[in-house]
Subunit: 348 residues, 2 copies
């Protein structure tokens, strides 16, 4: 059974999950390659995963319920699973917390596609809507206070299965990165009575040099202090603290922005591995004036080394101004979403 | 010219170093392999690196000065270089600091060895003594307040050259990881009037389950909240805040502990990549009662993925008790340091 452990010096959390040592890894052999054995996420292999907690039919008409487009299943090797009360046990200097959380897999297509880039805007919008649904469902569950939605694409980004999928991990504590963002943003709010992300968007739009794209309600930019080369953030232009408050009408627009950013990245750096993370405010808060949800796309070109793990500093050899210029100037005209019926696509 | 940038929300630092995009990488092609072209760190290739800032003769007698055993050179692609005053420039929300720091490479052998495991205790002790010398030299330089000594072994650990080497990076600010450790340790010191690391060593020695090894003056253990599978720390058993205060008499004993820990890891996980990091107190402090220097050996089996980068949490699928048991039970009798003359070894 997994457990949470707190470092007695730094208070950082670690999930000790011996059960995860057994999980399959398509990528164990280098170089990364598509593996011949059956993919548990493909249509027809539904019995290879735990029973679905939610299933979404295709976006075209005339589909049967079995003819799913997106499928949400519990992770077969969950990092965290129970909904017990999160009570810490103390043993001298050491504190251990019970296995409390939710670990779901969102299978984004019945077909063996490897990236959101392979889908049309409406398909990606459906996936984003599923993120929203699952965040809302998790927020109603006892003893979890935050959930992170993330995606690993490519072996260098930590992916263990190739078929396009994301994960939701709900936690009994607010994770350090979100807590740090919230803490910094709250300080700014107290001083200026404004959201620092809103001010940042305004400054970046005036400067232009780090802007990758802009639509009616969303902005994509390479952040000023990018940790990763070609790092890209997508933020709602209007203030919003919780991703799950995104309205239906904006999902397709957001999908278009996400897909375009991923395509720009793929063209600039063919086959690049990346992580995709949604940072949203903790569940147990009403709409926050100081926090602003955002998506972080973190390309994994260089491997974090001793310096990064030892200091928490990052070294980035592509200035974000150069990264944004490269990404902005990618010609997307050859990638017009086809909207073709996915059923005509090759399955694995 | 590199520059330091501070994230306006989280205050985390990033070094933007476009100059480093050009550095060579023996490992660009997967799988990792030994590259045929000339290694700039091997004896006879001294003109491939900047001029040495320090050179150490071999530990056996009768060597000429050119017959170096350890060589310290400025990094050809430094992350930071100057000794200017560290004054931040503000532009709206964004703060930029000048390129201030020192980036040195410690070439640990004239021979193309790939790991400290390939050397005898006395050779490793010489390298540890060089770390001490370079930390003392850096601490006397203006405008830097801390230096990290680290080593990347294997491509999965971010190594770009295979020849056994370490790096020293001196910084104009105390890095986040050391600041967090110091902050947590200081809180504990204020409450208990004791060093938390000293108490941790005591508790771990009583529990035994996470102890990997013990000598007169050093302890090796798998930390309670290990972030990485098989993570190992080496700490001085007696309180000491600064690595550079280590006495000559203890260097060989420490070298033996380091080498044994690395050998145990190599036997348990053949060919594993790892980072090796020395955490020591900032330069500008006298001996600190609350901080305790230590070495962290961070095996890189699993790749940090979206969850880790997105939350700051780590998932570790090997409990440290199991890791310590595995490492402890490695039979080292077949690895008795030979003390052979290194000049008889194969060069690349």
């Amino acid at each position: 059974v997994p457990e949470l452990r707190k470092d007695p010096i730094t208070s950082r959390w670690v999930i000790i999950a011996a059960n995860r040592a057994a999980r399959p890894n398509e990528f164990l052999a280098a170089p990364p390659r598509r593996v011949a054995k059956v993919c548990p996420f493909c249509r027809g292999q539904e019995n290879q995963t735990p029973a679905a907690v939610a299933t979404y039919p295709g976006i075209r008409s005339g589909r049967s319920a079995a003819d799913w487009q997106v499928r949400v299943v519990p992770n077969l090797f969950p990092a965290l699973t129970s909904d017990r009360r999160f009570v810490l046990e103390q043993n001298g200097l050491f504190e251990t917390g019970p296995d409390v959380g939710i670990h779901e897999v969102i299978i984004e297509s019945p077909h063996h596609l490897v990236s959101m880039c392979d889908q049309c805007d409406e398909e990606v919008a459906l996936v984003l809507g599923v993120y929203r649904d699952r965040l809302i469902a998790a927020s109603g569950r006892p003893n979890v206070v935050h959930a992170i939605v993330f995606k690993n694409v490519g072996v260098a980004a930590g992916a263990s299965l190739e078929h396009t999928h994301s994960q939701l991990l709900a936690l009994p504590v607010v994770p350090a990165t979100v807590a740090e963002e919230e803490c910094g943003a709250q300080q700014y709010y107290q001083q200026h009575d404004r959201c620092i992300y809103c001010d940042l968007i305004e400054q970046e739009q005036r400067a232009e040099s780090r802007v990758v794209g802009r639509s009616a309600h969303f902005v994509a930019l390479c952040p000023f202090a990018s940790r990763f080369a070609m790092e890209t953030w997508i933020l709602p232009a209007e203030h919003s603290s919780h991703f799950e408050q995104t309205r239906d009408a904006q999902l397709v627009e957001l999908a278009q922005m996400v897909r375009q950013c991923l395509l720009r990245l793929q063209v600039a750096l063919a086959g690049v591995a990346y992580n995709f993370v949604i940072h949203s405010a903790p569940f147990d808060t009403a709409a926050l004036g100081h926090y602003h949800w955002h998506i972080e796309i973190l390309p994994r070109i260089a491997n974090a080394a001793g310096f990064e793990w030892g200091t928490g500093f990052h070294i980035n050899s592509i200035p974000p101004e150069q990264a944004a210029r490269t990404l902005r100037t990618v010609d997307l005209s050859c990638f017009i979403p086809t909207g073709e019926d996915v059923s005509t696509r090759k399955t694995s």
